[in-house]
Symmetry: C2
Subunit: 193 residues, 2 copies
């Protein structure tokens, strides 16, 4: 199972955002939702062997983790408003200390990166970094774990926590996080078949 | 200048869609808007040397062409609602037989593929096709023109019109159009620098 961990430095951890003004009211949760689409959805379908973790660090309910599991997820659609509606419902419930399924395939808990690392278990971990090794020259197992920052990048504490992992780059231009997820996904698709 | 031509078989050619229900009310214009983001926007910026043509074939005002020019475009933001708002305003005006600028960098006209081909002038044209040649093995000039279908693919008349152009594929999985644009963009970025 491929895994993407997207860290939203300001993305709201509660459902207290407006669907009509997502980009301004959600701490840029919209950017994370676009990563969900890029990781999990293909033309007319859902990728089953993919897990996406969103780390939400914005607002008074933060930090919280949402895990989206392609094997059991339902009702995932590519447009931002549909994804935002699904997240809003998921975030409306109380979060406990352990990941618990709130809706089909969507689980929620209190916690930050440490909680995600605990849930990940084994796996080869990679941190996306513009100065990293070109992904095209790297061995990548199908169960790779990719840590991707948002528009603010990683903070120092996160970088320290991830310092032992290999740095990867997807190309010479600084891209949106969802483009990074698309490029990594294509890299794995090409190796798989 | 790189050019992308995205053909929306059902995408509404008028602004008569609801911003609150974009995916259902716009004939899947949302999918085309995601292509605009993928082609024109990077982390904290806009790509100047890119042109995107949207061919809108849905509804009674169809067909119409919108051209978005990165050299002069303003107010482009990555979230779907912002892009939809901009398109709605652009499509609200009357369209003449020739491309005319309606808002900064956004031009509109009546017409279909023939109008786009006329406006493109010279350039190496490629048609995205899952059975095409792998893009990684191809020479690609920086002024390449890519024709990309939507979720319905190309119709027969369009394929006939584009039959002399080389077929390219971006990988083994059938992807959303915006992912295709991201992968082509990365290919050109890598060759440029």
């Amino acid at each position: 199972v491929r895994r993407f961990v997207i860290i939203g430095q300001t993305a709201l951890a509660s459902g207290d955002f407006s669907l009509d003004d997502l980009a301004s009211s959600s701490g840029r949760l919209d950017a994370l939702l676009r990563c969900v689409r890029a990781a999990l959805l293909v033309s007319h379908g859902l990728r089953r062997e993919v897990l996406v973790y969103l780390i939400l660090r914005g607002g008074p309910s933060a930090p919280r983790v949402v895990r989206i599991d392609g094997r059991t997820a339902k009702f995932l659609r590519p447009d931002e408003r549909s994804l935002a509606t699904l997240l809003k419902k998921t975030l409306a419930v109380g979060a406990g200390p352990e990941l618990a399924e709130v809706r089909p395939g969507l689980s929620l808990c209190e916690g930050d990166l440490d909680k995600v690392l605990e849930d990940l278990g084994d796996g080869s971990c990679y941190v996306l970094d513009e100065r990293g090794h070109d992904v095209r020259g790297q061995e990548l197992p199908e169960d790779a774990v990719f840590f991707v920052g948002d528009h603010l990048g990683f903070d120092e504490a996160t970088l320290t926590c991830l310092q032992d992992y290999r740095r990867l780059s997807v190309g010479p231009v600084s891209l949106h996080s969802d483009d990074v997820v698309t490029l990594l996904t294509n890299e794995l698709d090409r190796r798989a078949g």
